[in-house]
Subunit: 432 residues, 4 copies
């Protein structure tokens, strides 16, 4: 039985000529580089922003009136009903959740746990009648006041314990629901002031916590990937998982670089002073690329605006890096995106996802066309051609003294060559 | 024989009551925590900004009229004469250089090399008549157009070779001059556009280059530290040595974390989205703290302004982290700071250094007082006390399942405690 | 009768030698440039952050447990009781409020109005037993969802009307309580996207709204100042009252530059890309300086952190501009500052204010000493001395042709002179 | 006779199917909303970046080897020859210059003036054999060290005089060459430190200077527009012409708002914390929109990168505002854009312009299509419909008391309506 929330809206169809609500670019079955578009993009909707967020910001409270807002199990089931109605309408193959999104908090850990198990059963029932599967689950270790000073990195060992138990229960639930990944975002793993913070201790706590999560994954036979989502700041002044490069160093220290991959969010890349494609390319070059949150920030705002993507050229450069890295395996394109708080109508929620999926579809097709065209990669390879020659390789196996002898002898006279940036950008613009 | 540049200005004295040019706070011989202030701070003047920079910015050219500007060896010697006069006037125990600061570029590598050797001889002569020693030398691998696309990370192996030869010659010169450290700053090790960049190749080149530098240090018996100076951007859009955390991951990948330390600049920390004390504390906690460039940026400007420090409370927090890390060993406090381009007078150069040294002296004394007072550290320790108890340690050796059993059983109920940030800031303000 | 909230804490005393909670620098009766320090600084506590804010941020909810949280008139009176206890403990001569801070929202405008009137009576009663007076009142036109698209600049005239009625009621209340100013902060006067925004209409609405407020002030004989508080963004992507310069242009357009002054917040200056002292100096130079919110932002965070001030050198430069402008008349130093959300203890609230007041007292005394010393102003005047000569003044009354004739004739040959920035900064550092 | 610089490259043709260098979107004669595309866009090339900039940045010197670099009149003529060859190849109808770009600096003002007059004659000769006309001329009052502390706002009246004479000579030259506008960019009108700055004096100087320029325009019968180009910072810490809103207030103070319009640069809008379209829409709504510099900044870099535009969706939103404002009259689309310093080849210069012109052509066509479609404007109008009704208008002519009576009486109950941002963004994405 349907809820009335979306007023019996039919599933959104693909129709490039439509004048109403339709996908103009996203055709799940269209083949791109030998694979169905749906299997490339692996879209996921986010439970929290779409169904649990009330519309507040630091200067104002709830704007959304949703019939499922409240703390009972009955409302949690209504929320699930509406969520799956949206998944069906927009045709996303995946969704994602935090425990706090899907079940009411209980008065004890045990009660929260029972609530979670009960709602997981309910969601599994929903999934049996839907084609939407679980991309990833994760634990909300940042909203409740008990986490205000961190979860794994809390000065109080009891919070570490509570967090560990929560990750176990969320990984169990993810595993039971057939989730393809398990995500950790350390929203409170950081600090507000160095004056009360012991960086060294907190790093050890965080490293051990992540090791435990990986150990537990293997113990229960969870085959999905463990993903860490970097973010440099907000809510805290400094977050330990600042960016891909920072997390890589952390993984190396704790021997986890083969076990953990990155869930990279566009908006977090921007906050960290990078481009999204930089974070993607870096993760790929380090062998730790996993999945993405395809939600943008406003370049003009210094905080995480989590907006639906709308700039095709930018999105195309992101998928270009993803395709070069071989595409997603367990990962996918999650919209960790929220409506603007003035977008009150149910239709806004549908249209936002449809528009975003179309932007991604255009971006993917442009990226594939750039790769198939081959000019960009040929020009890049040509630029480094000297390193492919035996002398180039020999140089890396040499030493300063030998090299200096050759240079001082006059045998080396480097001549600058054009980097051709504008020409490369023009080539990109033929495809986006 | 003195040049006329500083008009026979006498060495600046320590006089807290002076109304004219004097140190009001920096007394080299004052004991702070059992060590002379001079031996704590280990001040160094930077040859480049003080003597080689003409005052240009992206919208205007030279403002300074210095009698030594030009490309001859004779002018290079005059420059050295004036530099040592300044070192004597301000009483800095150290200075630092790039090759390009101290010698004219030749028409070939060999000629540049001869110029360097000749001026190094001259500088050694100057040092014999001065108490100023060499804190570090470094190679300028960023100003000449041959480096426009990188030095070690250049797509052209010939530039790698040229750069390697240059590092050898600069490390030789540093060694010969008794330098206490050798620094690498990768001003062009980065990219302008990902479209023409192969991140993986360039990372391998950079890693091998740094290994070669370390190998060469051991071969020649140079006992100083090898220091890398992080910076996130500028001149390039993205620089590989983004910040301390990034360089740490890089060192781990190439097995260099025991061989290389950090030279941390306040302005670069700010550009990377950190506080200076964060970068210092992080490097210390990772065991890679080495030295500092004590020049600030303007928070309002999005580029590296390299100004002399002038905010005592900020400087105090930096020295607090340095003292907690045990203070400098081979490192020191270098002013990688330039005059504002309107500060035309010789006296401006003296006054800028004197003011900065006084700011650092006040900061050091405040930091020492905070440590000796002990309240900050006691409050920090108290906050983590739970982790020092056997149950805390046992927790880190446990696993998710055991922990979850305990939490579900109701044995854990974390109660938030105040982080006391404002009280801690008030304590700091009693000392700064 | 006292509430138990602050555990009968005695008023904080002035004791420069104290080792416990005390003012070390703020002595209300100390004379500074011929005026009592209290009368210079005119401190005000902010009702909202200290008593109405639950500790939430975009990723987490309430952290503070305050016995007065809730929506009844009884709790509103308890809140007022505790507030005045704090005012007495810290000895602030002023406080400030929004309507939403002091009274529960009713189910209709009329009910909210009755609640406001009732609580205003209660506050007037509190003021009779306290020396704390009202610095300013203001209307909260941003938290409730009805204001989500603006107050005066809402596309719906009904929201304009509701806002106008609210301003009337708040100005009446301010007048009745003897408030010295009335403030308008346009937290929702801006936009999220230009695509749905008519800049021209909204500007007209805002201009007319402000005119009405000024007209009403005169009608009721309110003698206080009307203050506008600029902020560039947050909550909205762009706020119309971006900074002092922007508001000046707006006031000029609507003929209000003689009627309205600025309430300048440090954190908002930073967000707008300025220094605090810039905004103060600019407002003073335009004749529209009024009052300040002395709460800082974290330079590292891209949002408004509203922290208590803790950097004396920065605060000193702010008071230097204020003293040069003649000091406050109706304005004062309001702490629009909130505790960090981890600062749970009642004592944190007291200590935060005490520390901030001490920082301001030190800043004020340093600023006064710089002015009395006179060197800074003498050097500034000397720099512009050419303009005080008759030829300088004549130049401004001339025209391009006459000037060009003189220049072409060779009569003008400007010679750069040092701007002496570092020397000036050194002078400042003798006093802070 | 042709120089060899561009190797006899033929004029770039329009060919949407081309696989080599061609315009794929810019067809000058294509009609867009009833006007030729060329007449809409009014492209201009910038003399300085393309022909006078050596490729330096703050950490490196010249990278470009151009045969015309040097200080003689003969080289200045060669530069002009090459410039006009480029104008012909890319088919721009306009160009722009600073005096310092086109003539060598003389040893006196008079000699600089003679150089300028001579090269202006030469350029007029070039224009007779070309279809490229002058969009605007301007004076470089920022590069020479005499301007280091400002031009009109210099503490030294002699610099004011020199600057005034320079503006006269540049306006004369612009007038003689048939220029359609005269631009003022105050690159040094600002400050490095408030400590040595008198904001009030400098504002008076700047206001009087601009009045003189306007008076002189009328005296000589120059019919073009006087344009001011805002920029918030860089080279200085703070520039007085911060953004459009700031300049508007300045114009109002000096009675110039009917005489002066804005030349708005994308990169400067970003540096000021705005979007480009914001600055355009604001200027249009204030009646002071004039012309644009269509060069972007890198969102990731905190300085002015002056890159050629390459993001069509962003450019489309800019032209949307321009078309809504009625399009250009005397203004145009200037590329104040420089090659990346690694783009050494002559072909890079051509390709950069061609790519940028195509991006603009696509943007313009998309903007026109959005306007012709009409949905965006219809939805905007519908949102404000309440204000078009008599009650809406009456409200603006009312007063707080009357409004409050109605609201308190219960006659007003605003109900939030969706802002539909995502739906609007989806509509835009149908056209870009
Ligand atoms: Co986010
Ligand atoms: Co995310
Ligand atoms: Co620097
Ligand atoms: Co440095
Ligand atoms: Co604020
Ligand atoms: Co405020
Ligand atoms: Co620019
Ligand atoms: Co420009």
């Amino acid at each position: 039985m349907m809820t009335a929330f979306f007023h019996d809206l039919a599933p959104v169809r693909y129709d490039p000529e439509a004048d109403d609500l339709a996908f103009r670019h996203y055709d799940p079955d269209e083949m791109v580089m030998g694979k169905r578009m749906e299997d490339h993009l692996r879209f996921a909707a986010a439970y929290w922003h779409s169904f649990a967020w009330p519309g507040g910001d630091p200067f104002g409270g709830q704007t959304f009136d949703r019939p499922w807002f409240g703390d009972t199990m009955e409302l949690a089931r209504l929320k699930a009903d509406v969520a799956f109605e949206m998944f069906d309408i927009i045709g996303v193959p995946f969704f994602c959740w935090h425990d706090a999104d899907i079940r009411p908090e209980g008065s004890s850990f045990a009660e929260s746990q029972r609530n979670l198990e009960e709602i997981v059963d309910y969601l599994i029932g929903k999934m049996e009648n839907s084609r939407t599967r679980l991309l990833w689950g994760t634990a909300n270790l940042f909203s409740h006041r008990r986490f205000m000073a961190g979860a794994a990195t809390n000065p109080d060992p009891d919070v570490f314990a509570w967090s560990a138990a929560t990750v176990k229960s969320c990984m169990d639930a993810t595993h039971r629901m057939g989730g393809e990944n398990y995500v950790l975002w350390g929203g409170r793993e950081g600090y507000e002031t160095l004056l009360n913070t012991d960086l060294k201790r907190e790093r050890q706590q965080a490293g051990r916590f992540l090791q435990m999560a990986v150990e537990y994954k293997h113990r229960i036979g969870f085959k999905g990937a463990i993903l860490v989502e970097p973010k440099p700041q907000e809510p805290t002044k400094h977050q330990y998982d600042f960016d891909v490069a920072t997390v890589y160093g952390f993984l190396k220290e704790f021997g986890l670089e083969e076990e953990v991959q990155m869930n990279i969010e566009q908006g977090h890349a921007i906050l960290a002073g990078h481009s999204f494609e930089h974070e993607l390319a870096l993760a790929a070059s380090l062998g730790i690329f996993g999945s993405i949150d395809m939600n943008r920030n406003d370049y003009q705002s210094g905080w995480d605006t989590d907006q639906f993507p709308n700039n095709v050229p930018e999105v195309a450069l992101a998928y270009y890096e993803i395709l070069k890295a071989g595409g997603f395996t367990t990962g996918g394109t999650n919209f960790d995106a929220k409506l603007r708080r003035q977008s009150l109508d149910p239709l806004d929620l549908i249209a936002a996802h449809v528009g975003a999926m179309d932007v991604c579809a255009r971006g993917l097709k442009a990226a594939a066309a750039m790769l198939e065209d081959g000019r960009l990669e040929a020009m890049r390879a040509e630029r480094y051609a000297g390193w492919d020659r035996p002398e180039g390789q020999a140089l890396l196996n040499s030493d300063l003294e030998s090299i200096a002898a050759r240079v001082t002898g006059g045998g080396v006279n480097p001549l600058p060559r054009s980097g051709r940036q504008e020409i490369l950008e023009n080539i990109v613009n033929r495809f986006v």
